[in-house]
Symmetry: C2
Subunit: 209 residues, 2 copies
Amino acid sequence: DIDEIESVEDPLTCVRKFVHAATNKCVMYVLEIGDCLGSTVFSPIKADVTGNITKIKNVYETNPTKFKTLQLILEGEKEQYGTEWPNVGATLALMWLKRGLKFIQVMLQSIADGERDESNPNFIRVNATKAYELTLKKYHSWFVQRLFTVAVYAAPSKSDFMKALSKGREVKEEECVEKIRQFLVNFTVTIDAIYEMYTKMNAELDYKV
Amino acid sequence: DIDEIESVEDPLTCVRKFVHAATNKCVMYVLEIGDCLGSTVFSPIKADVTGNITKIKNVYETNPTKFKTLQLILEGEKEQYGTEWPNVGATLALMWLKRGLKFIQVMLQSIADGERDESNPNFIRVNATKAYELTLKKYHSWFVQRLFTVAVYAAPSKSDFMKALSKGREVKEEECVEKIRQFLVNFTVTIDAIYEMYTKMNAELDYKV
Ligand SMILES: CCCCCCCCCCCCC/C=C/[C@@H](O)[C@H](CO[C@@H]1O[C@H](CO)[C@H](O)[C@H](OS(=O)(=O)O)[C@H]1O)NC(=O)CCCCCCCCCCC
Ligand SMILES: CCCCCCCCCCCCC/C=C/[C@@H](O)[C@H](CO[C@@H]1O[C@H](CO)[C@H](O)[C@H](OS(=O)(=O)O)[C@H]1O)NC(=O)CCCCCCCCCCC
């Protein structure tokens, strides 16, 4: 089942809670979206995202009091790294992580809103493509963009996706969509707050990979 | 410069020499073929191949006498793992590694033989595509095959490729091709011998990833 996230007063408050939200089953399933193809193919993406999470967690654990919040981590690293910052440390890891998480959020929101390709209503390509355009595309070279175009063909059908989110039980689409909506409430607030923090702190970089 | 490999009397004789051959600069450069695109994009391929090498090296180092040759490693693991074998250990790592190395060998041979796309003589796509079809394609799902089709567009021009093989010096194509030919002599013998060993020992698996 889709994990429920504890409601967080201030989404930047607690790194521990953030890491919990970021490793929610719903997120993990999207990272394994090509499961049927063998995890090998999607493993570089999963490795990238979980690498970001590990980096943030490791910095947090060096000093859980000093680094209680994501904001405190960014401020601490800004101080620590001088001109290297923000291209460094947990600041860089969170910069990329928030993009991947926002991809997932936008894709799920688009599914929940019923956006679909009328001629292929059981595909989620249109939702994945929308999410990609709004989140990751501008940070990818034309070459990685083309890889994405291919990768999106490996996305499962909407019904398989729903089934996987529901631990393999056949569930009504409406029931699953309702759970996605619940998941999205706090998840969206958290991600928006992180984006806002990067803007305010001038920590966003826009190089392409 | 392209490393010269010591000539090996019996290509299966010595794991140490094989690892040396497999990490030859010529091989490494092909693994970084998309350098200009940022190593990020090709890093999963490089990680896969170097992962294979590390696995073989680690098994060898547990007992350099017992595992002096690749053949001894396969025989030892067959004994050790029973029905799990050959889908396990250094046997599995070498099964995949030899395919990647053969890809590189066929591609370099095709370049050395002057095979080219007459309308794009300065591209190596035709050589990479030939190598792919003869080596890796049959072990890849249609999805990974499509990724390859995209990836091949990131291959550098033939002149940039030659330049990179020559430590950045501008060299005559003929000079560089001559070095590739020298490199290929022992390299080809080694890889052919490994393929033969897998056939003879019935160690080849043909599942797709
Ligand atoms: C044999 C033929 C085959 C050839 C094909 C080979 C090509 C393989 C291409 C693999 C691409 C894998 C995706 C990884 C992309 C990554 O390059 C980027 C930047 O990655 C960041 O880079 C930083 C430095 O610049 C730091 O190292 C960050 O690391 S740090 O922690 O050290 O600071 C790191 O995350 N991340 C990204 O673009 C993020 C991607 C998130 C995706 C989110 C979910 C999407 C779901 C998709 C569903 C359709
Ligand atoms: C954000 C949007 C982007 C989305 C895109 C994401 C898609 C990313 C796809 C990445 C594909 C990376 C290539 C890796 C493929 C690998 O899956 C396969 C099998 O790999 C083997 O698998 C075994 C188990 O089955 C063991 O784990 C082996 O590991 S073990 O050591 O543990 O036993 C392992 O090597 N290796 C391969 O196919 C080998 C590939 C060799 C390539 C040789 C050089 C080619 C040069 C190419 C020049 C053009």
